[in-house]
């Protein structure tokens, strides 16, 4: 019998209304990268949180190095050499990066007083060693999701843990950062460290996986060495049926130009000019931090623009607050789900209708049957996995939360729909459904702007792509010239053959 670093035996876990895991048997060999795949809500995060002591199994046993252990808290898990990068970031807005990196293990003087000087010196060393451009005294709340994710990765990989769990660590970082993470993973593996890895990105898992386990509906479907799997078989096992298409058919768009942005400037971007035709899907490509999110935030009134003229159907728009932007039909699905997307302590229903209260009420009094109908429709359409409409948002899996945020904005019947990384954390099967919905919105004559870091997604979905480089619109691509090489060239500051 082989020695396993970590094993789960007959693990089951129920939450009110759902059986998240049933009779899980799972073994991980030491010094390997073991990838978990499965649909949104399949139970991946729950399984990992059980190993990290956040949830406690209803039954079953965890073994580390063959010895049964009970793990009651993340602190106990840390003592057993387990560290975890969580899927949901943005924990402690008021902490500085330094404090965050050394949380609960600050260097102390005389065993009690925190030695701040030493802490910040060590933090700086760590950051320099890592080669990332942060000041350890910056507060977490001033960082973007991608920054937080990078800090989070640093924190886990330097913890000295023997088992590192990574729950969708690459959902919001740039390709360069992904490469750096993967190099780090190789290095950790050489030191004999075991890595549990969750991701929905098929292309990246084959770069690092030694073993892959597919789970579905809280059950282990299959575990095999990565070499014995290919994308299609994984998808088929995840979804329970083969998946024919990744993207819906592209449709040519010959509508007239209806949404124009001229000379838009603001924090993080300068003099942006672009337009969208009626029924067109226009992509925005660029490196993480290029200023796309800032640009879009100014369009919907989330941040203030400095200058710029925005017109829709020939009329100039006044977009100073989200409220006015929404009234004029310009809305955005934010990339930062935890900060701008969800109210975690309220129900799925309340979250879904939050941007649409006006249409679902009469003189300020809610029409509950209409709400339920609208929300029910989206739950079915996007196959949102939730025990009911009254379930709290915080008890949904990450991908399902994202689907609720999407339905919130789709429900408002916008005229201009801005989607900033809309498929973040969404499984391959559900992505197709969402792409179809976006297509359908465009077909109804809505102007769609799709900001994405996944080039295949942009190329597969968009009629045209604008590329943003360091706060400037560097060019636009369409048709044949809209390919990965050209997009990357423009995104990194090279000259493109603008069409």
């Amino acid at each position: 019998m082989e020695a396993y670093k970590i094993s789960l035996r007959h693990i089951s876990k129920s939450f009110p209304g759902v059986k998240a895991l049933s009779d899980i048997d799972f073994d991980v060999r030491p010094g390997t990268v073991h990838v978990l795949m499965g649909e949104n809500g399949a139970g991946k995060s729950t399984m990992m949180k059980i190993i990290n002591g956040i949830y406690h199994p209803d039954e079953g046993e965890i073994q580390i190095d063959g010895r049964p252990v009970t793990i009651k808290t993340p602190q106990e898990a840390a003592r057993l050499g387990i560290a975890m990068i969580y899927q949901e970031l943005y924990f402690v807005p008021e902490f500085t990066i330094g404090e965050y990196l050394f949380m609960a293990k600050e260097p102390r003087r005389l065993g009690c007083v925190v030695d701040w000087k030493k802490l910040y010196r060590q933090a700086r060393e760590l950051i320099e060693q890592e080669g990332v451009p942060y000041d350890p005294r910056t507060k977490i709340k001033n960082l973007s999701v991608s920054d937080i994710q990078i800090i989070e990765i640093m924190k886990a990989t330097y913890s000295g843990a023997q088992i590192i769990i990574m729950d969708e660590p690459t959902s919001s970082i740039s390709n360069a950062d992904v490469d750096r993470l993967f190099a780090k993973i190789e290095e950790l593996k050489k030191r004999g460290i075991t890595i549990l890895y969750i991701s929905h990105k098929l292309d990246e898992i084959f770069r690092i996986a030694d073993y892959i386990t597919v789970i579905r509906d809280g059950q282990v479907i299959e575990t095999r060495p990565a070499g014995e799997f290919d994308s299609d078989t994984i998808i088929a096992k995840m979804v329970g049926r083969p998946l024919d298409n990744v993207y819906p058919e592209t449709e040519a768009c010959d509508g007239e130009v209806c949404f124009t942005v001229e000379d838009l400037s603001g924090p993080g971007f300068r003099k942006a000019d672009f337009d969208v035709r009626r029924g067109e899907i226009v992509g925005f490509a660029g490196l993480v931090g290029a200023g796309r999110t800032e640009m879009m935030s100014a369009l919907v009134g989330l941040t203030k623009k400095r200058s710029g003229r925005i017109t829709l159907d020939g009329q100039e728009l006044e977009l100073s607050t989200v409220e006015t932007a929404k009234r004029q039909g310009v809305v955005m699905v934010s990339e930062d789900r935890q900060r701008y997307g969800i109210v975690a302590v309220r129900s799925v229903l309340e979250n879904s209708v939050l941007a649409n209260l006006g249409n679902l009420s009469n003189l300020g009094v809610l029409m509950h049957h209409k709400e339920r109908e609208a929300v029910g429709g989206f739950i079915k359409r996007l196959s949102i996995r939730t025990p009911g409409q009254q379930t709290l948002m915080q008890s949904l899996s990450g991908g399902n939360q994202q689907k609720v945020v999407l339905s919130k904005w789709l429900m408002t019947a916008p005229r201009v729909l801005i989607l900033d990384e809309p498929t973040r954390g969404i499984d391959v099967g559900a992505k197709y459904e969402i792409y179809c919905l976006i297509r359908e919105m465009a077909r109804q004559g809505i102007c769609v702007i799709l900001v994405s870091s996944e080039l295949p997604e942009l190329i597969g979905m968009c009629n045209r792509v604008y590329v943003v480089h360091e706060g400037n619109v560097a060019g636009q691509l369409s048709g044949e010239s809209m390919n990965q090489e050209n997009i990357m060239r423009l995104a990194t500051g090279g000259q493109g053959n603008a069409s």
Partner: protein, 319 residues
Amino acid sequence: MRLENTLKGNSVKSIASKYGIYLVLVLMVVISSIASPNFLTVSNILSVLRQSSPTIILAFGAMFLMISGSMDLSVGSVLAISGIFSLSVYMMGGSWLGAILAGIMTGLVCCTLSGIISAYVGVPSFIVTLAMDLIVRGGVMLYTGGMPITRTGNFAAFGQGFIGPIPIPIVVVAVIWAVSAFILNHTTLGRKFYAIGGNAEAARASGINVKRTTLFAYFINGIFVAIAGIIFMSRLNSGTPGGGDGYALDAIASTVIGGSSLSGGIGTATGTLVGAIIMGLISNILNLVSVQSYVQSIVKGVIIVLAVVLDISAKKKSV
């Protein structure tokens, strides 16, 4: 077999956290009736409710604020000034309508002012309302010269009167409970309160005017505080300038005991009612068994801490 067990475990836990507060209420009634045979009589129950009606009403105001992520520490003084202005107007003209309107206007002005400074200027509500408390208490002392206003004529008719067999203050509490429940469960305003308290940034990004909504919470609170003030003064049949001292914390405590979350976004009208009644019962039973008032204060403090600790641990367990 095993599955049944886990399901049972789950439901026991969730029932305990869902109905825990009602169990506490029942428990308190049982203990109280054992401790004092006079407790479980209709007249004592009615008198407890009437006595605690001002704090119950304050608790509803505190609930709206807490759900929206704010708090008001000035309600004790605002209660006093609204009650006294209302009484003064009544004594001038003898008109009920004028008196009630004057009281409500006073409460509205004070609380809306706090709301504007906190929501639009951005000063934390804790600080604004603490200052407001000092200012208003000073103002009411100046106005009355620190002396109670007596010879109030028929002003007591409101606080001491009955509709049928039921004291008017209890009817008012019932109405406020119903109105609060309606606002929270059936109006867009209620949804917005929950959203801005649960995650203000997400609410803003959904197109909700966070500042205006916050102001509405203060607005409702102002009306409730004034009503509590009128009942308070009218029931005592005197304008007591020191009245309502310490009520702000009682109101907040009742709200927390009733299940509202200090971090915002959570709370129900019925929970608040039960929480406030529990607070009232505590005072009553301590009085009935004649515990000294300093000791009462200590006991109340301990109970508040226990309630919050229970609240936190229940939330942790539910994960």
